[in-house]
Every structure is written in structure tokens, then in C-alpha cells.
């Protein structure tokens, strides 16, 4: 019975993470996006905590805490302030419309299911389902990165991608170094956020202004 329950709860949490990823894809305002991301991190924290509980792995609580404090609170707040500071609180420019993006997302989820469900059943079913969801989250995060023009939303995409990784890592029972990895990734994200702030990257990841790109080392034709 307990096995069933653990499976169901983990399944529920992981599924919610995918759902929240879709919600992110749907957002077209920055503030709302940040809020949804906080929710994403929250679900992750819950999922990790549940895994910690299930696996009897207390160190995973650290990861859950990081997710909760750093990702659900600190980062969204910091990004919020950056948006205010840089004055870019407007609508998100998407490359592809929301509708097609959602469709693409569906396709990706289906893809990850197909890929992962080929894994033989002898592998831990929990891991198997978990991995399918994690892969979905990773792919959706990547999709977000490539369909958004705005730097902040791209960062959000990267962070949700990374959440998928943490989900996968915590789902892998007994995997060493999970905490270290989640810390390392948090540092990485911090770097990115600082980078955005330092380099005043308003519009895109790429450059401060378009003219600089044209000067770009004479390589421009």
C-alpha cells in the first residue's frame, strides 16, 4: 500500500511540475511569469522533500530547502527588482505564438513519454515515471529558452530546465552528489542573473544593443 501511495504522490508532484511548466509557456507578462516560476520551484521543493521522505535520505531535505528558499523566493525577488531597475516590465516577445508553443510542448511531452516508456519495466517504475516527467520539464524549459526573446524569461526557462534536472537527480535513488549539484547549479544561476544585471542585458541574451553586433569584430559582411 505504501508503495502505491509513494508512487502516486511522487507521480502527482512530478506531473504538477510539468503542468506548471506549461503554465509558464502560456504566460505573456514578466511578473506573472516570475510568479509562476516561484510556483514551479515550490512544487519542486515539495517533490524533493517527498523523495527525501520516501528514500529516507535526509540530505535531500537540503536540496528541497535550497529549492524553496533560493529558487522560490530569492531569485524571483531579485529578478523582479532587476525588471524594475532596467525598466523592462512589458509584454514578453515570443518568437512563436503561444498556441503553437503549447502544441510544441505537447509534442515534447509525448516524445519524452515515448522515449522513456521504452525503458524496461524491470527498472524502478518510480524512476521511470519520474524520468519521463523530468525529461518533459527539461525539454519544456529548453523550449521556453528558444521561443522567448526576453532575457529574463530565458533565464526562467533555464531555471525550469534545471528544476527538471534536480527532479531527475532526486528521483534517482541513492545518487551521490545530488546536493552538491543543486548547489552548483544555484551558483550558476546566480552568475547568470548577476550577468544580466551587470551587462544590462535588456532585450536579449546576446547583446546590449544591436549596433554593437554589427561592429562585431569585422566579421560582419
Amino acid at each position: 500500500m505504501r508503495g502505491n501511495l509513494t508512487f502516486d504522490v511522487a507521480h502527482l508532484l512530478a506531473g504538477s511540475l510539468v503542468l506548471v511548466s506549461f503554465m509558464q509557456l502560456y504566460q505573456d507578462r514578466l511578473y506573472a511569469l516570475l510568479n509562476i516560476y516561484a510556483l514551479h520551484a515550490l512544487v519542486l521543493a515539495a517533490s524533493v522533500a517527498w523523495q527525501a521522505f520516501v528514500q529516507d535520505a535526509p540530505h535531500l531535505y537540503v536540496t528541497a530547502a535550497i529549492a524553496l528558499i533560493f529558487k522560490a523566493i530569492v531569485i524571483p525577488v531579485a529578478l523582479h527588482r532587476i525588471i524594475v531597475r532596467l525598466g523592462i516590465h512589458r509584454e514578453i516577445e515570443t518568437v512563436v505564438g503561444v498556441g503553437p508553443t503549447m502544441l510544441l510542448g505537447m509534442g515534447l511531452v509525448a516524445l519524452s513519454m515515448v522515449v522513456m516508456l521504452r525503458v524496461t519495466v524491470q527498472a524502478d517504475p518510480l524512476a521511470r515515471e519520474d524520468l519521463a516527467f523530468a525529461l518533459s520539464v527539461v525539454l519544456l524549459g529548453l523550449l521556453m529558452m528558444v521561443t522567448r526573446r526576453n532575457a529574463v524569461s530565458q533565464v526562467v526557462g533555464f531555471m525550469s530546465l534545471e528544476n527538471g534536472l534536480v527532479l531527475a537527480a532526486t528521483g534517482a535513488k541513492g545518487m551521490p552528489l545530488v546536493v552538491e549539484i543543486s548547489v552548483a547549479f544555484s551558483v550558476l544561476i546566480a552568475f547568470i542573473v548577476i550577468g544580466i544585471f551587470l551587462f544590462r542585458i535588456r532585450e536579449r541574451f546576446d547583446t546590449v544593443d544591436v549596433q554593437a553586433l554589427d561592429r562585431f569584430r569585422g566579421e560582419r559582411r
Binding site: 522515449v115 522513456m116 521504452r118 525503458v119 524496461t120 524491470q122 527498472a123 524502478d124 524512476a127 524520468l131 523530468a134 525529461l135 527539461v138 529548453l142 529558452m145 533555464f158 530546465l161 534545471e162 527538471g164 534536472l165 531527475a168 537527480a169 534517482a172 535513488k173 541513492g174 545518487m175 551521490p176 552528489l177 552538491e180 549539484i181 552548483a184 547549479f185 550558476l188 552568475f191 547568470i192 550577468g195 551587462f199 542585458i201 541574451f205 546576446d206 547583446t207 546590449v208 554593437a212 562585431f216 569584430r217 569585422g218 566579421e219 559582411r221
Partner: protein, 479 residues
């Protein structure tokens, strides 16, 4: 003793990094940098002398011995080059002493990270080390703090981060595949354990894992279409770093890829990793070859040439078989030596001419014969002309492939030819023709450059039997 050598390879750089971070004088750190690199190299050579012992974290086998020695050797010669390069940079005020201090510390940290990645027995540790190396180089690429440098570093950083993430996902998947067989915990990530049980792993998981690892580490190797960070990072960073990037870091990532390829090859139910690697290799080779033509920045051009050669190497390993693996290994070694030597030359040339734009340099063999002919020699070597080493490896790759897969070899040959055309097109304007750009003498040290060329030349003519034996063992290991 073995443990000493192993830990020495790691300890010397990391200690040196710590010391350099604290030492104020940049001249002394430059000298010390050379000494530390030399020591690391000598320690690495010791690995050959003493039979190594593998633990849960560190591993020495035939495969990584070659890589470690190559890495530490090029690290050493690059440090020699770096000393004279940095002197000049400070003279013209492009770098301040504080940055140089940071630079040397980072240099040793990078060496540490690469060595760690190479001798790590744990795939998680290997991942960590490679990411550490990546982040270190990001910092070094941006060291000039010009707009372009920061931009290149930023691009490298973002693309690298995604690569990191993908590689990690692959690593997790490998663990997941190994866990039911080996059991939970550390040993499911230990390479020596994984390799013995690989046949029992779940093939579907392995497949997905390999896709992620191929893309994740492939980003570091610079395979097209994941290469985008590479040309800019090479072009905008300090030249010693370009040399290390092309000569070493790409190899380290490739090493990781090879490890996982071996793992996959042992599982008969999993997809063959060969065709994937062959495809990526061919795409990279042909793509980079065409990209050479429109280059206006000399360092970026050679960066694309690195992509091309990485493509060839990955192709060779993808083809597999004793001959192709041998060729791939040889090609990798030769490419490391040649490309870093080319960057040594290019660094001095850029300093003499005060620019990296090809249009502003010309007739170099007239104004600076040694540098100019050095570059000519380098391009001749990298284009795969005899009697230099790359010719031998290309000969082996192509001729051994053609009998098996004629079309693949034909495409590869096309790439090689197109690349040769691109390289010589630019070489002609740089080395020959009318003199363009400022004319000044270069008082740089040519020793590292010609040392590399001498080795490459010698290898093209005569390979010592011991070396051959070593390579053959590795080739067998790679299957």
C-alpha cells in the same frame, strides 16, 4: 609512488593556483607558472613509469595516460608561450598586473580541472571537473573586458551552461541505468565498475543517456551544430587560452565522450554509438570547412579549423576498429600539438600587427620570416600535408574508411579538401604578397612553437615503437 604521481598531477596545479592568487608580482608568477606546469608534466610522465592503481575516485589506464601526458605537456609549453605573451600584453597595457595574477591562478585551476576530468574514475566527478574547466575558461575568455570579449564569454557561458545541464541529465540517466544492476550508491557511478557490467544495463536508458551526453559533451567538443561558442571564445580570449582551448579542453570533452561510447558499445542491445558520432563528425568537418572561407579574424579562422579537426577525430572514433581508433588517437594528439603551435604563432603575429584582422596583415614571410614561415608550416601541418603527422592520421582515417564506407570517406575527403582551400586562401594573404600592417620585430620566444612542430614533423616520419604500442593498446581498448 603511484598515488603520489596521481595526486601530484592534481595537487601541483591547485596549490600553484592558490599561491598565484596570493602572489603580487606578475613576473615571478609567470616564471612560477612555467615551473609548476613543468612539474605537473614531469609528474604525469611518472604515470608511465609506475604501474598505476585505480580507486573509487581516481583511475589511470592506458587511455587516460595518453591524454594526461598530452594535456600536461601542452599545458607546459603553453605556459612558456604565455609568459612571453603576457609580458607583451602588460607592456602595451592591455592587461593590468592584477588581472595577470588572476589569469595565472585561473590557468592552474584550469589545468587542475582538466587533469581531474581525465583521471576521474567517477562519472559524476568527471562531469564536475569538466564544468569547472568550462567555467574557468569562461572567466579567462572575458579577461580583456572589452565589449567583444565579454560578449564571447557570455555566449560561451550560456551555451556552456545548457551543455552542462544536458550532460548532467545524461549522467543521471547512466546512473539510473546502472543502479538496478550495480546497486545504489557510489559504485553505480564508478567507471571501472560500470564498464564491467555494461552489458546488463537497460538499453533504452543507455540510449537516451548517450544522446544527452553526446549533445552535452559534444557542445564542449565543439561539434556542429553545438559549436557556436567556440569560434568567438577562441577569438576574443588571450591567445594562450585559445591554444589551451583548442589543444586541450576539446580533447578532454572528447575523452568523456569516448568513455561513454565504450560503455554503450559494450551493450549489444543499445544503439551503436558509432553512426551518431560519424554523422556529427562529418557534419562538423564539412560545415567548419566551408566556414573557413569567409573568416576575417585569424584566430576565429583557426577556431573553425579546430571544429573541422574535431569532426574528423569524432568521425574516426565513430568508425571504430583498430585502425580508425589508432588514427583518431593520433589525429587528436597531432591536432593538439599543431593547433596550439599555430596559436602560439598567431598570438605573436597578432601582437606584431596589433590586430587580429586578416585584412590588416600581409607579407609576413618578408617582414617576420620566422613567424611567417612558422605559420606556413603550421597551416601546412593542419591542412594535412606531409610529411607532418596529421597527414599520417588522415591517411589512415580515409584509407581505412573507404574500403568499408566509401561514401562517408568521400564526404570526409571533400571536407578536408574544402578546408585546405579555405586555410590556404587566407594563408596566402597573411604570409605572402604585399606587406600590410605595421612592421616590427617580435622578440618572442619561438621555442614552444617549434618544439611542437618538431614533434609533429618527427611523428609524421617516424613513430617510436613504444608510442605505437601504447596507441595500439588504447585503440584496442576503444574497440
Amino acid at each position: 609512488m603511484t598515488a603520489d604521481a596521481l595526486t601530484g598531477v592534481l595537487l601541483i596545479p591547485i596549490l600553484a593556483a592558490a599561491i598565484f592568487a596570493m602572489l603580487p608580482g606578475y613576473r615571478i608568477t609567470a616564471r612560477l607558472n612555467v615551473v609548476a606546469s613543468l612539474l605537473t608534466f614531469l609528474t604525469a610522465v611518472c604515470l608511465f613509469v609506475v604501474e598505476p592503481r585505480s580507486g573509487a575516485y581516481l583511475l589511470v589506464d592506458d587511455l587516460n595516460k595518453v591524454f594526461v601526458v598530452l594535456t600536461t605537456f601542452v599545458g607546459f609549453t603553453t605556459s612558456v608561450f604565455s609568459a612571453s605573451y603576457i609580458d607583451h600584453e602588460i607592456e602595451i597595457g592591455r592587461l593590468t598586473p592584477a588581472f595577470v595574477r588572476f589569469y595565472h591562478a585561473m590557468y592552474q585551476t584550469l589545468m587542475f580541472a582538466m587533469n581531474l576530468a581525465l583521471i576521474a574514475n567517477n562519472i559524476g566527478l568527471m562531469w564536475v571537473a569538466i564544468e569547472m574547466a568550462t567555467l574557468t575558461t569562461v572567466l579567462m575568455v572575458g579577461i580583456y573586458r572589452t565589449h567583444e570579449a565579454l560578449e564571447a564569454a557570455w555566449k560561451y557561458f550560456i551555451l556552456g551552461s545548457v551543455g552542462i545541464a544536458l550532460a548532467l541529465f545524461g549522467t543521471i540517466l547512466i546512473y539510473m541505468a546502472a543502479r538496478p544492476v550495480i546497486g545504489e550508491g557510489l559504485y553505480a557511478m564508478v567507471w571501472t565498475v560500470l564498464i564491467t557490467r555494461a552489458a546488463e544495463f537497460d538499453p533504452a536508458l543507455l540510449n537516451v543517456a548517450f544522446v544527452f551526453l553526446l549533445l552535452g559533451y559534444g557542445t564542449k567538443v565543439g561539434l556542429a551544430p553545438l559549436h557556436a561558442w567556440l569560434p568567438d571564445a577562441h577569438a576574443e580570449g588571450p591567445t594562450p587560452i585559445s591554444a589551451v582551448l583548442s589543444g586541450l579542453l576539446l580533447n578532454v570533452a572528447l575523452y568523456a565522450l569516448l568513455r561513454f561510447k565504450m560503455l554503450l558499445a559494450l551493450n549489444p542491445a543499445a544503439i551503436a554509438p558509432g553512426p551518431l558520432m560519424v554523422t556529427m563528425g562529418l557534419i562538423s568537418c564539412v560545415f567548419a570547412a566551408f566556414m573557413l572561407y569567409r573568416r576575417r579574424d585569424i584566430k576565429r579562422m583557426f577556431a573553425y579549423s579546430s571544429i573541422e579537426h574535431m569532426g574528423i577525430i569524432v568521425f574516426a572514433f565513430g568508425m571504430g576498429g583498430a585502425l580508425a581508433n589508432f588514427a583518431g588517437l593520433l589525429h587528436m594528439t597531432m591536432h593538439s600539438l599543431t593547433k596550439s603551435a599555430i596559436f602560439f604563432a598567431v598570438g605573436h603575429i597578432a601582437q606584431v600587427k596589433g590586430t587580429q584582422k586578416i585584412a590588416d596583415m600581409g607579407g609576413l614571410t618578408v617582414t617576420n620570416p620566422v613567424l611567417g614561415w612558422g605559420l606556413v608550416l603550421g597551416v601546412v601541418a593542419i591542412a594535412g600535408l606531409p610529411p607532418l603527422g596529421i597527414f599520417m592520421s588522415e591517411f589512415l582515417v580515409v584509407s581505412s574508411t573507404f574500403a568499408r564506407q566509401p561514401w562517408l570517406a568521400a564526404i570526409l575527403v571533400l571536407g578536408i579538401l574544402v578546408a585546405l582551400g579555405g586555410l590556404f586562401l587566407r594563408l596566402n594573404t597573411i604570409a605572402f604578397g604585399e606587406v600590410r600592417g605595421p612592421v616590427q620585430r617580435s622578440d618572442a620566444s619561438y621555442v614552444p612553437m617549434f618544439l611542437h612542430f618538431a614533434i609533429v614533423f618527427a611523428a609524421g616520419i617516424y613513430m617510436p615503437p613504444a608510442l605505437v604500442l601504447g596507441f595500439e593498446n588504447v585503440a584496442k581498448l576503444l574497440g
